[in-house]
């Protein structure tokens, strides 16, 4: 396996992009990435997308995007793993380069969610259709069940859940691409409408249109193309039961713990060696659970950690979701995993502006699908 680096990135504004089609969104992000990397061609491309069929009625998406990007006949492959589609797209691109099969590869992701579809029903296809969704559950509902279990088992409080949203909005305020650039308070969260008890509207990531792309190439080539190559030092993936109810625990996500074990082993690192992390905060409770399952905090202590500022950019032990996370930056499902990698890349190359974490050398991106049935973790290091 060859060493692989990220050499450029591009993304669109995240938000309600009413005047842009799914093609416009992906092509804009991909062109930005190609220009940013300074390459004149790509050898293959991956497109992470959860459900373009349900959101806009378009499948065969990778071929559509290669065509509209003007890159046909390059090999183009769509990658789907629900909300982890973007992260899995990145991992497939990594493997494509690492294996020696391709040199310059575009890893992208896109979702166009605001085009009239029943978004709640479309997102729910990431859960078991016959035994979960049939009985009336929604995605906020699944994470609300995790939240109630965590609150019951570890005395996690409603205020601690809200503290995740407050922090991520604070970070997103300084991210020009974020959907919500508004600072909020714990009271704003607790006074917002209930979606699925105990989760309020401001505990939930929004419905978002957006695209993101990065360019990968062998590390040796990267050193000739850029002064600031970022090496991918670890890439892992794991799965779990599709249904939440079949799990032994509702407060630990096994796909995350298993992927983390593999990721730390490959990079020969401990959780304490990570300088910052982008984690999958589709709901406030998921950031708390994942921050524990990644080993940043003991089980049951993720809630108090965020409340005590341990995950803040200023003065935090391990800044989490410096981009604003899915919560504030937005969650165009298939693009999210790539956007997480972009935040890590910007931080490691000192391009994060007011969000910049001091002395950031190693960053981790964790992206998961459904209620945690799939997870991918990618760790990057500045050289």
């Amino acid at each position: 396996m060859r060493d692989v680096a990220v050499i450029g990135f591009g993304m669109t504004q995240f938000g309600e992009l009413w005047n842009k089609s799914i093609k416009d969104i992906f092509v804009e992000a991909a062109l930005n990435a190609i220009e940013n990397a300074g390459v004149d061609h790509i050898d293959s491309m991956y497109v992470g997308a959860m459900s373009s069929g349900l959101f806009v009625g378009q499948e065969h998406l990778a071929a559509v995007m290669a065509d509209y990007l003007g890159m046909a006949p390059v090999p183009a492959t769509r990658v789907e793993s629900a909300c982890a589609s973007g992260g899995m797209s990145f991992r497939q691109a990594y493997l494509d380069v690492a294996s020696g099969n391709s040199d310059i590869v575009l890893a992208g992701g896109v979702e166009k969610m605001n085009d009239g579809a029943d978004v709640t029903a479309a997102l729910a296809t990431a859960a078991d259709q016959e035994y979960e969704v049939y009985n009336g559950i929604t995605f906020p509902g699944l994470y609300a069940m995790i939240a109630n279990a965590h609150m019951n088992e570890y005395k996690t409080t409603r205020e601690q859940l809200a503290a995740v949203a407050v922090k991520n909005h604070q970070n997103g305020f300084n991210n020009p691409n974020a959907q919500f650039r508004s600072k909020i308070t714990v009271d704003t969260v607790l006074n917002s409408t209930l979606v699925a008890d105990p989760l309020h509207l401001l505990d939930c990531s929004p419905v978002t249109d957006g695209g993101a792309a990065v360019i990968l190439c062998p590390l040796d080539m990267a050193k000739k193309l850029t002064d600031t190559p970022v090496k991918i030092i670890s890439s892992s993936q794991a799965s779990d039961t599709i249904s939440l109810y079949e799990r032994e625990s509702f407060t630990t996500l096994r796909s995350v713990t298993k992927a983390a074990e593999k990721a730390y082993k490959q990079a020969n690192l401990q959780p304490a060696d990570i300088d910052l992390a982008e984690v999958h905060d589709c709901f406030t409770i998921s950031e708390i659970v994942v921050s524990e399952d990644l080993g940043f905090f003991d089980k049951g202590c993720g809630g108090s950690a965020v409340e005590e500022g341990k995950t803040a950019i200023e003065g935090g032990e391990i800044p989490i979701n410096t981009s604003g996370g899915l919560k504030s930056k937005g969650h165009p499902v298939g693009a999210t995993g790539i956007a997480q990698v972009i935040e890590i890349y910007e931080q490691l190359t000192g391009q994060a502006g007011k969000r910049q974490v001091k002395d950031a050398h190693i960053g981790l991106a964790q992206n998961m699908g459904g209620s945690g049935a799939s997870c991918t973790i990618n760790i990057l290091e500045a050289l």
């Binding site: 029943d118 709640t120 029903a121 729910a124 016959e130 035994y131 979960e132 969704v133 049939y134 009985n135 009336g136 559950i137 929604t138 906020p140 509902g141 699944l142 609300a144 069940m145 995790i146 109630n148 279990a149 019951n152 409408t193 209930l194 979606v195 699925a196 008890d197 105990p198 989760l199 039961t241 249904s243 939440l244 109810y245 079949e246 509702f250």
Partner: protein
């Protein structure tokens, strides 16, 4: 006309049929072709008890279009007497009475109307006892 997709699940939805692995004893609901615990493929069909307890739950305030007229409603993860787990909507219970650890009884109910034809689809719900 009843859809084949619906009919395939009738043993589970109407009778709570599960499969017990002949090798390791794990109860799978719904039945599977491969036991996820031991990898063996021989099972005995059993019916789950109608008695269980709530392991965790939520109250859905915003449902999908299919369930939007029912909101708010509670959905819970339930462990049956024999240790099998399933997800079910809570029926005939005040929302304030739903909490972790509460005992429930499984009942047969209409769950939803499918598609534009409005086909009645049935299954199990749970009542807090």
């Amino acid at each position: 006309m009843i859809s084949p997709r619906y009919v395939r699940e009738v043993p589970q939805r109407y009778r709570l049929e599960a499969s017990k692995c002949k090798s390791c004893g794990k109860i799978n609901f719904p039945p599977r072709l491969v036991c996820p615990k031991c990898g063996k493929r021989e099972f005995e069909t059993i019916r789950l008890s109608d008695e269980g307890k709530i392991l965790t739950y939520t109250i859905i305030r915003v449902g999908s279009d299919t369930f939007s007229k029912e909101s708010p409603y509670a959905v819970a993860i339930i462990e049956t007497k024999e240790g099998a787990k399933l997800m079910a909507m809570i029926a005939d219970t005040a929302l304030d009475d739903v909490s972790i650890g509460k005992k429930v009884k499984m009942v047969f109910r209409k769950i939803q109307d499918e598609g534009v034809s409005g086909l009645h689809c049935y299954g199990y719900k749970a009542i807090v006892v």
